[in-house]
């Protein structure tokens, strides 16, 4: 069942079209990875979903309710962490966490303490003295200690160190286990890969690819490292073979997933000594789309 759904969501700032027909769908109990380069429209989408910006056209619903008209009712059931956490310099972290939790409604003191310990935050310090990572921790602790149905996290780990990133990932996995739904916007691909069931890639206000990681991998290439008894010939001309590189370790090639069978049959003729294959990473996937942006034209 879709908990969050947008249909042809468009947002215009003057002449600039920040979102151009965005369709995303987050199902119950699912972690949805929302990825894309900076300025692609991730945060704008999220801010429309929060009812902070008003969509120029299209529909967006959360729990079946309109994100603009029923914002307050929706917000009672969601928790949000902004990408750029700005806090009040003269309040302490502890005060801000309490305020946030209270404003949502509900109060879970033991969870709060547990999270403060896990994220290693000193709640008695004024927000003025916090680094970006610590401000993010404040927002994360406030979000995770509230009992929400949907968590909207906008690049939540951009300021965290690797240890804290891990704590974050554990917390997300805990939530997932409890059957919560999560919209995770990120450009840290390894994180999305680890946590998300489905991903949507946004670029220039368009969703250019979406589906489960499994489905998307289909669209991409497998990396092969081979060593053969005889040198492999006539590989260059083969369909679906890219980026051939010779190295001391052997021959490194990228193969389109649908051509894998053909390529392997060809290679085996030369007497395989060693064969390593690596699944395509989200990074490859992302880069492929990203590079076509660099080339200029829309893909």
């Amino acid at each position: 069942m879709a908990i969050l759904k947008t249909n042809q969501l468009t947002k215009q700032f003057g002449d600039f079209k920040a979102l151009d027909g965005v369709n995303i769908e987050v199902n119950e109990g699912e972690v949805y990875g929302f990825i894309g380069p900076n300025g692609a429209g991730k945060s704008t989408t999220i801010r429309v979903l929060l009812g902070v910006l008003k969509a120029s056209s299209g529909e967006a619903t959360i729990f079946g309710q309109d994100v603009w008209k029923d914002a307050v009712a929706i917000h009672k059931r969601i928790a949000y962490v902004p990408g750029d956490v700005n806090l009040w310099p003269n309040l302490t972290g502890g005060e801000v966490i309490d305020l946030f939790v209270k404003l949502r409604g509900g109060n879970n003191q033991s969870r709060r303490e547990e999270l403060i310990k896990k994220f290693d935050l000193d709640p008695t310090k004024k927000c003025r003295t916090y680094s970006k990572g610590n401000r993010q921790k404040v927002a994360l602790i406030a979000a995770f200690s509230s009992d929400a149905d949907l968590y909207i996290l906008d690049e939540p780990t951009s300021g965290l160190d690797p240890l804290m990133e891990r704590v974050f990932q554990e917390s997300v996995i805990d939530l997932k286990r409890e059957g919560k739904s999560i919209l995770l916007s990120s450009h840290i691909l390894s994180e999305v890969e680890k946590l998300c069931d489905r991903v949507g890639i946004i670029r220039q206000g368009h969703i250019i690819e979406s589906g489960t990681l499994h489905e998307l991998r289909h669209l991409t290439r497998t990396h092969l490292l081979v060593e053969t008894k005889q040198p492999i010939t006539s590989l260059e001309g083969m369909k679906g073979v890219h980026d051939i590189e010779e190295s001391e370790k052997g021959l490194s090639i990228q193969v389109d997933s649908e051509e894998l069978d053909q390529v392997l049959q060809h290679i085996s003729q030369f007497g395989v000594v060693k064969l390593e294959s690596a699944p395509p990473t989200l990074e490859d996937l992302f880069m492929r789309h990203y590079e076509s942006t660099g080339a200029g034209g829309a893909s």
Binding site: K54, D84, L91, T92, G94, K102, L103
Partner: protein, 534 residues
Amino acid sequence: MANPLFNQTWKLSRFILRRDRFKLPIWLLSLTGITILIAESFTGLYPTDESRESIAQTMVNPAMTAMVGPGYGLDNYTIGAMMAHQMLLFTAITVAIMSILIVANHTRADEEDGNLEMIRALPTGRLSNLSATIVVLLGVNVVLAMASGLGLYALGIESMDLQGSLLYGAALGATGFFFTSVTALFAQLSESSRGTIGLSFTVLGVAYFLRAIGDVSNEAFSWASPLGWILGTEVYVNNYWWPIVLTCGVSVLFILIALYLSSIRDLGAGFLPSKPGKKNASPFLQSPLGLALRLQRTGLISWAVGMVFLGVSYGSVFGDLDSFFNDMEVMEEFLSPVAGVSITEQFTAKLMSIISMICTIPALMVLFKLKGEEKKNRVEHLLGRAVSRTRLLGSYFVISLITGFVMLSLAALGLGSVALSVMDSSMSLGTFYSSAMVYMPAMAVMIGIAALLVGFLPNITGFTWLYLGYSFFVVYLGGMFQFEEWVGNMSPFAHVPQLPVQEMEWGSTSALIVIAVALIVAGFAGYNKRDIQG
């Protein structure tokens, strides 16, 4: 400076001068400029001995003494004596503020931001930055002393001789130097620049009040205050130099202590323990209203103190209003006499229009804080949770309205109670209070305009200030410039019945209330419709 602790002090001094190449000249020019201009204007305002005599009489009351210090030479109230009495203390306080801000900026603030770490990693001495700051401030205060001293002397006013003028300048410079040393010391003790500035301002505030208490009761208190020493010079009357020497001596002592402390402490550390903040939010701080109040707490308290101060200071001149107005022709244009109404009542009515406009300032600031929060991306935290826009704007609106009401009440009651204590009149405190409260609808119109702009056009909220400035101009100075009637009528403050001179007028008052309500309702509607920026 051969001592390695002070290595490169001169270079760092030049670096500070370079960084503050605009700030320092602006401070110096405005301080000396205002000093000289005021002295010059006194000669025009009070040209005769008699006019000065009568103003001297109005100055002799405890409220005035507490505010500006004891008057010397009141029996022969020359322009010079007047200058030293009415201007010296407040100019000195401004110089102190300048010194505090600049010193804190170059010592603890730089340390906190990590700039000092880079400087210290270069071949500079451990004390170089602190000593360079002190050297620069010493120079600034010497320049200030010389410029204002010579400037005053250059006016060629008879009662302002060379010695007195130089002493006047020296008194300003010494105050600046004293607060340089105080701030330098606190920069070592406190761990943060806010702490440094806060503690230094506390010393300034305590010095002011200690002197105020001392001047009206026991002189011993005044001599415990550095500002008391400054006034003790009795400039242009007796010209005592020894308080300047005393002030500078104590300053040097503080500087030595500061340098010593700086030499033995770690970078980034302080001597005062920084107390940990609250771990949990109080029950009060758990709603948008509580948050809005908490964020503006310090500002609101300062305004409240300021408004009481404003009321009290205006109230203190009520005792001698008649002689004040009879001797000054310019005042007659300002207040045209009306038959059957006392000058006191007329002055009250005029004053309340001004006070109400001043009290509008904090009320507007409260509402505009919401816009500031939006710009800083903090409104999202609230609207992203179960807080509706109406509730958010409503919180700020309610605080704004209450702020206006409380400020106006404080100023009116402060004014009324002091005025009644210094004059014999049939007026009651209620008269003062109602003549102020009648301005609440006009203030609500201003708040309504602010709400409308926050709701629809948050980028041009500055227009409200312009409009308030316009109102101030046409209502306050309208009588002097003889504007056309419609010019004045453009301001809501012009449609308020001038109690106690005029009768209460419910028609215009109700009209103002209706306009205010309409503006506010529209503002809320707009805020519910627009994109939140950030």
